[in-house]
Amino acid sequence: MTEVAVTASSTSRERVGFSPNRVGVIAVNTLTEAIRQKVFIFLLIIGLVFIALAIFFAQYSLGEQEQLKFIKDTCLGVISVISTLIAIVGTAQLLPSEVENRTIYTILAKPVWRFEFLLGKFFGSLLLLTVSMVAMCMMFGAVLWIKEAGMIRDLSQTYLGQTAADKADAIQQIQQLKTTALDFDLVKAALTDLVKAILVASITLLVSTFSTSLVFNVAVPFMVFIAGMLRGTAAEMWGAHHLFMAVVAIVPDFGLFSIADEINLGNVVPWTHIGEVVVYGLARTVIIVLAAHLIFSRREI
């Protein structure tokens, strides 16, 4: 009747191997659960509203390029903050709510490895982050596209019926707008923000494997994130102090992920650097998730 994922060894003893399918089932269910939560919807709506409002407030800046810079600054800032908040809030309650509602009993009473369960919950959180990031980036893209179209329309009308030299100037400005508004380099900023949020989510997951307090699960990752952001400044102050070196070994350098300013200033950030940052973030994430597994596999439920 059933098709349980089982393999038989040479001694015909049944075995249950690691199953990506089970991880996927738990991840999709986790995403569904998160989407139904008001706090997630609230955070996402706040993010989308602030991104949309950027186009309104941009008109108080002088000049097309300044307005575009304002929109990019604001939107990338909002995406960074909201994705970090969703990473913390969306992950902090994953395990405690399963234990509190006893749904974890019904899942772990099935032939499911604890690592599959933990990974499923984490991937569900990553799906949530990806969905929110895509939604915010689409809104960001739409805002830039609307602003660009409006600016081009205004320029075209301003120089309508002017001299040939003015028209050439207008065409040049329009071309410049087209290259600076929807800049592909913005994808690099969004990508590093996503990896940063994934890293924050993994820290939150690690904390929630040994703590059942929601406040603790939110506060600790937030403090680690702040400490990680200030690591560069701290390095200048304390240099090779033993305590500082210990903190460096534990707390990820979140300052590495702040490349939006560079891109917005028009500086070229090479893909090799982006690759290094992504690998750094994902490697840290893997280590932290493995640490979470070590704790969760021994936890009494």
Binding site: I26, R36, T103, I107, A109, I301
Partner: protein
């Protein structure tokens, strides 16, 4: 082969710094035979739920070991043929009954037409066909308990662990669950049932074990344990008063003594269920 076997199974919980440890289960030696319904009885805090959690590897024993169908409980494969219904279960409230069973079925590696067929079978078995597309947030306590049983059965396990399956359920729902357990027994399933509702356990269990303060203080076949071999009860109908006197005389003449003569009573539960059955509007809360 025993469905469940424990040897010297002991669990002590840390109560916190300088507060010592609580002995929740003390050297439990338990054997649940394949195909039987075993009732684990005891007051609150006697170690019933701890036993089930240990068997499911949700907690780690301080000492001793446990096996399911001869497979050590700390191996995931031991849960291949086990279904579990926790006490007062909560499920994902945003899922419908059918989605819930689909979720648990997929966790057990099922899918496609086989899973759909299984979901239909189980919803029919637990009487939730009409509520299959309703979200669990709209289910009553009894319905949640029944969907809980269905999820425990989704992968057609040989062994069912039921922790207080009728807790908080009204007499009708309670009877439904009891009948379901008897049907499962008829299907050859092994059931380990934890409860402190003695009358219900008596109706469905083949053997019982009584836990108190973490120790198994009594165990055996239900009928043997509850019958008083020195006394005999004869129920007769429409017996004239004169004949009753002759029966009493005959008992005394044979060397016996009449301890009591009384009219047999029905149980309050039977009376309640009978009244509802006779109500032409039916029993109102079910799906």
């Amino acid at each position: 082969m025993d469905a469940i076997r424990t040897e010297q199974l002991t669990k002590k919980y840390d109560l916190g710094w300088r507060k010592g440890r609580l002995l929740a289960l003390d050297k439990l030696n338990l054997r649940v035979h394949e195909g039987e319904v075993y009732g684990l009885l005891g007051p609150n805090g006697s170690g019933k739920s701890t036993t089930l959690k240990l068997v499911l590897d949700l907690i780690t024993p301080t000492e001793g070991s446990a096996w399911i169908f001869d497979v050590p409980c700390n191996e995931v494969v031991s849960r291949l043929h086990v279904g579990f219904l926790p006490e007062n279960p909560y499920f994902y409230r945003y899922l419908t009954g059918a989605e819930t069973l689909g979720f648990y079925g997929k966790l057990c590696g099922m899918g496609g037409a086989a899973l759909k067929k299984r979901i239909d079978e189980l919803l029919d078995l637990v009487g939730l066909v009409k509520a299959r597309d309703r979200r669990l947030s709209g289910y009553s306590k009894g319905m949640l308990q029944r969907i809980g049983l269905a999820q425990a059965l989704v992968h057609d396990p040989k062994l069912l662990l039921l922790d207080e399956p009728t807790a908080g359920v009204d007499p009708i729902g309670s009877k439904d669950i009891r009948d379901l357990i008897l049907r499962l027994k008829g299907m050859g399933k092994t059931v380990l049932l934890s409860s402190h509702l003695l009358a219900q356990v008596q109706d469905v269990c083949d053997r019982i074990g009584v836990l108190n303060l973490g120790q198994l203080i009594l165990e055996g076949d239900v009928q043997t344990l509850i019958s008083d071999q020195r006394r005999l009860s004869i129920t007769v109908q429409d017996l004239p008063e004169a004949a009753q006197a002759r029966v009493e005389e005959a008992v005394r003449a044979a060397g016996g003594s009449v301890v009591s003569i009384e009219h047999p009573q029905t149980t309050l539960e039977s009376l309640f269920l009978d009244a509802l059955r006779k109500d032409s509007r039916g029993a109102g809360h079910h799906d």
